[in-house]
Symmetry: C2
Subunit: 354 residues, 2 copies
């Protein structure tokens, strides 16, 4: 769900994408994104595509054919990073964990032994499993090995702490439709000066013209060199969504996500249900719930949508049929929503059992 003022922003009359009024808004978006990412990185802006385009942006700019990359894979999105890296010509070392568990720093340490990869990449909040991998220690190990640290924050940004500079993250991407509560369609990204140095001193041209940071820097920078036509309305929405995030305050917003996760977890327990992801590393904004034995999980999801207008996610990959995924992200993370989903789920399950 997006806030009413965010949806309203989408319907504002269009400005030319080089109009001074729109350019002023671009500057404010960059500044607000820096606050939300907790970074001073100059190169912080929204890529004109969805979160997956943000992932591709990071890899195409940082990787050249033959580069070594270590990728943590504990769900759908880690697997996708490995695939995108390979399509950039990277030699990928896969560090795998069971779906629902985190990538442990010790696993990364083992993968780095005797290697000097260009990049270490992990998913912060795995949307497909509900696990939150801690970044600081992995980032330290990556830097010790001389590698850049890349992190996917699609589901974490705006819902739990993401501290680019404090954690030493060199490249990051996110999406607008998770905890920022704007419609999908843009991918906030940020590159450290070190990452930018790599991207601007390449041997080969970036394989994607659309995502080449060397060209985008001039469009989103002071020069305003025409590159593509930015999705104007989407930027209106992101601007308003970021304003709301900062108005609430990051700490207050994170605390709200944590509280509502705890409420849900307690309510699930009283229904005899439990969170499926690794204890101590469970996401607040995406709650993976173990499907009880003998329950037709697809039927439950269909009933929730038909009878209550509630959409919850299915399990993916090895978790298919084994978990439901309940989002409590941004605007949608409210005690009311927790109560509504618990009631609906309780009713549906008792009918199924009845």
């Amino acid at each position: 769900m997006a806030a009413p003022s965010v949806l309203e922003a989408m319907s504002r009359p269009l400005l030319g994408h080089l109009d001074p009024a729109f350019v002023g808004m671009m500057e404010e978006i960059k500044e607000m994104l820096r606050e939300v990412f907790q970074t001073k990185n100059r190169m912080t802006f929204p890529v004109s595509g969805t979160g997956s385009a943000g992932m591709e942006f990071c890899f195409v700019n940082l990787i050249e054919p033959g580069d070594e990359v270590v990728v943590g894979i504990n769900g759908v999105f880690g697997g996708r990073m490995a695939e995108v890296a390979a399509r950039c010509g990277a030699k990928v070392t896969r560090v795998e964990a069971e779906w629902g568990r985190i990538i442990e720093p010790a696993q990364i340490a083992v993968a780095l032994e005797g290697r000097k990869p260009k990049l270490v990449a992990v998913i912060h909040a795995e949307t497909s499993t509900g696990a939150l991998t801690p970044i600081p220690e992995i980032s330290r190990l990556a830097h010790e090995a001389g590698a850049l640290m890349l992190v996917d924050t699609v589901t974490s940004l705006g819902g739990c702490p993401v501290e680019l500079d404090a954690w030493g993250i060199d490249a990051v991407y996110s999406g607008t439709q998770k905890c920022l509560s704007a419609p999908p369609g843009l991918a906030p990204v940020s590159l450290s000066d070190r990452a930018l140095e790599v991207a601007t001193h390449r041997t080969h041209k970036v394989q994607s013209w659309y995502l080449d940071v060397n060209l985008l820097a001039s469009y989103w920078g002071a020069e305003r060199v025409y590159h593509h036509t930015a999705p104007v309305s989407m930027n209106y929405a992101l601007h308003e969504a970021l304003r709301l995030v900062l108005e609430e305050g990051l700490e207050a917003r994170f605390a709200r996500h944590e509280r509502n996760h705890q409420l849900l977890k307690d309510g699930l327990a009283s229904l005899g249900l439990e969170i499926a992801s690794q204890p101590g590393h469970q996401l607040w904004q995406l709650n993976s719930v173990t499907v009880p034995e003998g329950v037709d999980e697809a039927a439950v999801r269909a009933k929730l949508l038909q009878n209550f207008g509630i959409e919850i996610g299915a399990g993916l990959g090895p978790l298919k049929g084994k978990v439901w995924r309940i989002g409590l992200m941004g605007e949608s993370s409210t005690p009311d929503n927790v109560e509504i989903v618990l009631n609906a789920l309780g009713q549906t399950l008792s009918e199924a059992a009845g």
Copy 2:
């Protein structure tokens, strides 16, 4: 400008991108795009990025390293196609025409002599110069040489005839923010079965995961396999914009664009101004106007924006400082707008002269 109902559509509450209601809308968008492109191509859908992402979609899917490509270059966007093709590893043969003139079939014929390129690519409506290159003869030559025909219809689609099947176009991309009058952010594309055959029988994987038609086909096709999160609100807007285009009717819409172009041209003549692009091949929706000797063209543009709220384009590349570009696209192509811009331009020029 977008129609009020299109802007309104943007602010509708969000649906999950795999929600049955949204999936139904996706089907209608595909069907309406086929009508507007005048094609039966199954593979017709909006790429989740702007027009430039549509360009990249066509090249990354059809080109493999070492493939030969013939590109017509008579403005900014032809040059961009050559650059994108090269980044896919293509060997590019450039067929150049003076900016403001069309690519002549005879030029393409010369370039094809003794060659068997994989692809011939031209810009239908060059937004940077106002020239409209006729496609059918070039397409015939391309097919005779065994090549696929790729056409950029970013500015032409919805403003003047674009007939994919009748003209034998194999790959095409467009944008939403020109004559379709939706906000920027999506790129309608279409591939013929022949082009799709090439894209699905490649030796190398498509270098872009985000734009890989082999993956997108399952997302936009009957399987609905999750790929990325489609920009839901942008699709609402495109759906409503396409509905309006078809409600008006393609023939009526083209006739309206032609009429208003003629009105503008007559009015410009009475101000002593003329269209800069090649006679007989002047775009209706983008009018390139020769800047009179001694006039500070940037000052005129700034005054139009400040005093009248009218944004007209500057000349690009070799036309920088030599032309203005007046858009009369989709919703904006009205007799009122023609009168307003003529009055504003007349007043501004006479003040500058005074």
